[in-house]
Symmetry: C2
Subunit: 405 residues, 2 copies
């Protein structure tokens, strides 16, 4: 169609009457700095944008998952690097728990708001500290001991039916740094490493808990004290890595949910956690709840909340570390099922598989982290919400399956 | 708490065992380029991040709403600028409808995927073209004419009871470029401007429709043809600017909703729209539906969908322009109410008001666009969803009120 005679041609070269432009004067805004550029930092970016919060990321490397907000690339173990980054924001928080205590404490000493702070983070950084802290709070944990040599470990094994779980105090994640042992010689190499280290370290040994399933309780807490809880969820691990999450935990009795909530609050308050705290729990065969692990940051067991809760763990973490009032944490539908995408397809690229998944499951919320697939690596997740647990589970698994070979 | 004797001090200076790093090899990813850096571009960023889509913005200026994704600042009327930007992405789409046809057509000629394309966009860029296109499709519109002088306008007024609405063909938005007239002399200045323009342009004159309320029907359409619809919504304008949106339109009879849907689909398909199309409608006092305006992009009447629909208009727009399968568009709760934040508080900054709004309404989803407040300017919006329309409306208005004086 051509314009009829007597009508102007589209005045393409004229500027629009009033192009909206932002005035150059500064607006007071809240600025969050995230140390670490992984997918947890990445997933904080959408709620920051929605809430009008400026988010900056100190990434370990170029091209990481959170790169769109990465204003700096640098070493989080270097005090000057982290200090310079902290000066550009109102509060520093984390994608991971690896920032050294020395750096954290220097930040605090210089008046930087750090959430969670070093006093809390130490319990997430060192599993022996964690067990000590929880034991001091009276929170139910598996039997445990800190052992420095084979004799100590053997004594624990002898007291616990000849089997136990040994964990390195630091550096473990996703099942790494964890072994089931039946003899002290099973962790000979770890004891040797402790000796070489020359710092007189110890390994954590725990009773081998006979559990029915694993649960996770997420809590958020503001520095000024307000807390919120999401419903306790069931997590399914495969090879030590979170594979599936069911929210709320199916068939959880009210007593169980209340116990998990009480434990979550007790830890958040007792250890002075700020931001999101994830408490991994065992539901034992004899109906007890024991604390397995802690994470003081958004956690894989809470990814369902992006699509399944009024306030996601990522939005809540931002609100909490900024000491903003926390949001409602009710579920948006009776069930949410989250399936991790691990490894990725080997015979196709993600962008070849994405259309297949979207076409097959139009209700599924597909989340990809911008990471290159590698065996066992978490590169995304899928969440489906709805009224019928079986249906929701089927659809979430079906969508996720397109990203595997 | 200090570590007990015999335990290593936290080994803060050691790198974590396996810091996850993204391999430097390139991953195949989908890349969307958005021309224009306003809040519509801003609100495309969160779903792009969630879906693993790379989003780049060609912004008009520094510090605009979409700045976190602004890889370039430049003039969208300059062909070379837009071409260079287009080379960095897989598809070009828009935050506004102001990119000149000459630029759009040159992009297409050089093989750039442009959605919506120039053939469709012309109907959103020029209101007289729009009326011609809709009339040719047989879509119900108010009586209209293109008038080039006072005599032509007077003839239209005489035929329509002495009152009409006159609109400039281009450059109007949010009530600008629209006047209710009772005499040809009411738009004398506009006719004078047409004469000075020397291009033989015309003004659009339309019957003054007596309407019960305004509605909006949003549609998304992929280049390969798939379409989805959100439920028709009611929009409330104040001073020509969208103030409130109720989704779905309260009390909308099935017949009405079907009519709106049919009109939306007919326009999307008939004009070859790709991406999101917003059709603004009048529900007349005599139970007709007439098309008022079109927008070929995400639209204020669809902001509720971020929190209220399984797939938001922003996610759907990205999926549509990339020709990805479209997502489900059902409502997540029976009602969603969206209230615009216009102007902003004059006696406080936004970050002073944000905590008050969040504390008062923990269920409210507050969206701020990172723009400095200015009278009448859209700087954010609030959405609340729920079962009870009155309650949802009250809560959304209450939260939004904190951002006004």
């Amino acid at each position: 169609m051509r314009p009829p005679p007597g009508r102007s041609a589209p005045a393409a070269d004229r500027p629009p009457a009033e192009t909206p432009r932002v005035a150059s004067r500064l607006v007071a805004v809240l600025r969050v700095g995230v140390v670490g550029g992984g997918q947890l930092a990445r997933m904080m970016i959408p709620p920051a944008i929605e809430l009008g919060i400026v988010i900056r990321v100190l990434a370990e490397d170029e091209g990481m998952a959170a790169q769109i907000a990465a204003t700096q690339v640098g070493d989080y173990r270097d005090l000057d690097t982290v200090l310079a980054f902290a000066e550009t924001v109102d509060v520093v928080t984390f994608d991971h728990e690896h920032v050294p205590q020395t750096v954290l404490r220097e930040l605090v000493a210089r008046g930087v708001a750090v959430h969670p702070g070093p006093d809390a983070l130490q319990y997430a950084q060192d599993k022996i500290r964690m067990r000590e802290g929880l034991t001091a709070l009276g929170v139910p944990v598996p039997d445990w001991a800190a052992v420095t040599d084979a004799a100590g470990l053997q004594a624990f094994l002898d007291d616990h039916g000849g089997a136990a779980v040994v964990k390195t105090a630091r550096g473990g994640y996703d099942g790494k740094g964890v072994r089931v042992v039946r003899s002290a010689s099973d962790v000979e190499d770890w004891f040797a490493a402790l000796d070489e280290d020359g710092r007189g370290g110890a390994l954590l040994v725990e009773e081998l808990v006979s559990f029915r399933r694993e649960l996770a309780q997420l809590v958020a807490r503001r520095p000024s004290g307000e807390t919120t809880l999401w419903p306790v969820v069931e997590t399914v691990q495969q090879d030590g890595v979170c594979a599936e999450v069911f929210a709320p935990a199916p068939g959880a009795a009210e007593r169980l949910a209340e116990m998990a909530a009480r434990i979550g609050l007790q830890i958040a308050e007792g250890l002075g956690v700020t931001g999101v705290l994830a408490v991994e729990l065992f539901e034992t065969d004899d109906d007890r709840i024991l604390v397995n692990e802690l994470a003081m940051r958004p956690h894989n067991s809470g990814h369902w909340s992006i699509d399944g809760s009024t306030t996601s763990q990522f939005e809540q973490h931002l609100r909490a570390v900024l000491d903003l009032p926390l949001g409602a944490t009710g579920v948006r539908e009776p069930w949410a099922v989250m399936i991790n995408v691990l490894g990725g397809p080997e015979t196709a690229t993600l962008d070849e598989r994405l259309p297949l998944a979207l076409a097959d499951q139009p209700e599924a919320k597909v989340h990809l982290y911008g990471k290159s697939p590698r065996p066992g690596r978490k590169i995304g997740h899928v969440t489906v919400t709805g009224d019928d647990l079986d249906d929701v589970t089927y659809r979430a698994r079906a969508a996720a399956a397109f990203f595997r070979d």
